[in-house]
């Protein structure tokens, strides 16, 4: 992988934090049900109820020869999204300084990743989930040498996927399932027994598309 991958990522993503309206009032810029961008007018799976803002960290670990994306697999006993592959992150709480602080706080709480190892590079489009969240993906370069401490109440394990694999749009397979009486589509990438799909795959595919255009 070329050594200037950081420049390529920085040029592909949003350098500025999206404005207040985009974060707190607007629909997600992309999302479940509008996987390929566009089609904002499509009815939301949950109707028009207010979305809750969540922030996730997209951690790109800066290994010298092969940068990797750090992912979690959520604990199997959770009520929502149990066992699924996810970025560290969660709901932006009232006391968080903002969505970036929230993403870093959650990463620290869930997997013990100290915020000082993370150099925030920018942001991806907000992603609206069928479960009623508007997710802001915060892209950060992570300096190797960190130690993780997993909170097993929330996370079953962490693993790493080569960045190269995830920024190649051809690796994303489109699937369709019947969900509550209608067909829904999602993308998935399989890697060493892990199934990366749904919102996590949607956000990473957005990164892959941005890096190819």
């Amino acid at each position: 992988m070329s050594t200037d991958y950081k420049t390529r990522i920085r040029e592909a993503i949003l350098a500025d934090l999206p404005d207040h309206n985009t974060l707190y009032n607007a629909p997600g810029q992309i999302g479940d049900g509008r996987l390929d961008g566009g089609l904002v007018g499509r009815p939301r799976p949950n109707g028009n109820r207010a979305l809750k803002l969540a922030a996730v960290l997209v951690p790109v670990v800066d290994y010298e020869n092969e940068p990797k994306i750090l992912l979690t697999r959520r604990a199997d006993h959770l009520a929502q999204h149990s066992g699924q592959v996810a970025f560290p992150g969660g709901k932006v709480e009232a006391e968080d300084g903002g969505p970036v602080s929230a993403a870093l706080r959650e990463a620290q709480e869930e997997i013990g990743l100290a915020a000082e190892y993370v150099d925030v590079a920018g942001f991806l489009s907000t992603y609206e989930t069928g479960s009623g969240f508007r997710i802001l993906p915060v892209v950060g370069f992570v300096r190797p040498g960190f130690q993780l401490e997993i909170d097993h109440n929330e996370v079953a394990e962490t693993f790493e996927v080569p960045l190269e694999l995830m920024i190649n749009e051809a690796n994303y397979n489109r699937h369709e399932i019947e969900w509550e009486g209608r067909m829904e589509a999602y993308y998935a990438v399989e890697y060493e027994g892990y199934n990366i799909w749904g919102a996590t795959a949607g956000m990473l595919r957005n990164l892959s598309r941005r890096m190819q255009t």
């Binding site: 006391e95 968080d96 970036v100 100290a114 915020a115 000082e116």
Partner: protein, 201 residues
């Protein structure tokens, strides 16, 4: 020949002394009361991202870094030192000795309260006692924000936290800045901020 031996010993002595030191009411050793003789530079260094180095190698043990941070002092000569009752060792500091990596906010308007947490787990609430200040690079006007932690020690506010900080900003008398505990901290002239936003449009 072993050139490392004296510096290794100096470091071991500092660690032993620091562990012995009694914390005051704030849990921190009274470094301002100690006036040991200067013992030299043994290759301790804090990079801009807050990582501590000893002889070029990162110090990975967080508890050791935390311990060192409690006996750090910023003296009149502009230098930073680790001090114990019997040692004083120079620490090279690339920018600020600490990095503020997380921020919490409560309240709104003038009553807004911004609380920062550093990489070594100190906390500081911006206000009359802890100033927040911005330095602009004279060449490219890149802002470097700092929050005062204690005595003459500051933390560089990380890029991550600065994103959230700017999102909380408002304009008062032609200055763009943030409120915390009834103090307004300017970040930049409002006209400059408008120009940044137009650049992005």
């Amino acid at each position: 020949m072993n050139d490392d031996a004296p510096t290794q010993n100096a470091l071991q002595n500092v660690i032993a002394q620091a562990q012995k030191a009694d914390g005051g009411s704030d849990g921190l050793p009274p470094v301002h009361l100690w006036e040991p003789d200067y013992c030299g530079d043994i290759g301790l260094h804090i990079a801009r991202d807050g990582q501590w180095y000893y002889a070029g190698s990162p110090i990975g043990r967080k508890r050791l870094v935390r311990l060192f941070s409690t006996i750090l002092r910023h003296d009149d000569d502009g230098e930073h030192y680790l001090v114990t009752p019997v040692e004083k060792i120079r620490v090279g500091v690339e920018d600020a000795p600490f990095v503020a990596t997380l921020m919490q906010v409560t309240g709104v308007g003038r009553d807004q309260v911004l609380r920062f947490e550093t990489n070594v787990h100190d906390f500081a609430t911006a206000g009359a006692e802890h100033a927040l200040r911005i330095e602009l690079d004279p060449n490219d006007k890149t802002p470097s924000p700092y929050i005062h932690i204690r005595a003459r020690l500051e933390a560089l506010i990380s890029r991550a936290v600065f994103y959230d900080l700017v999102a909380l900003g408002e304009t008062v008398d032609d200055q763009f800045g943030v409120w915390s505990e009834n103090v307004f901290f300017p970040i930049a002239p409002a006209a400059d901020v408008e120009a940044w936003l137009e650049d992005d449009a």
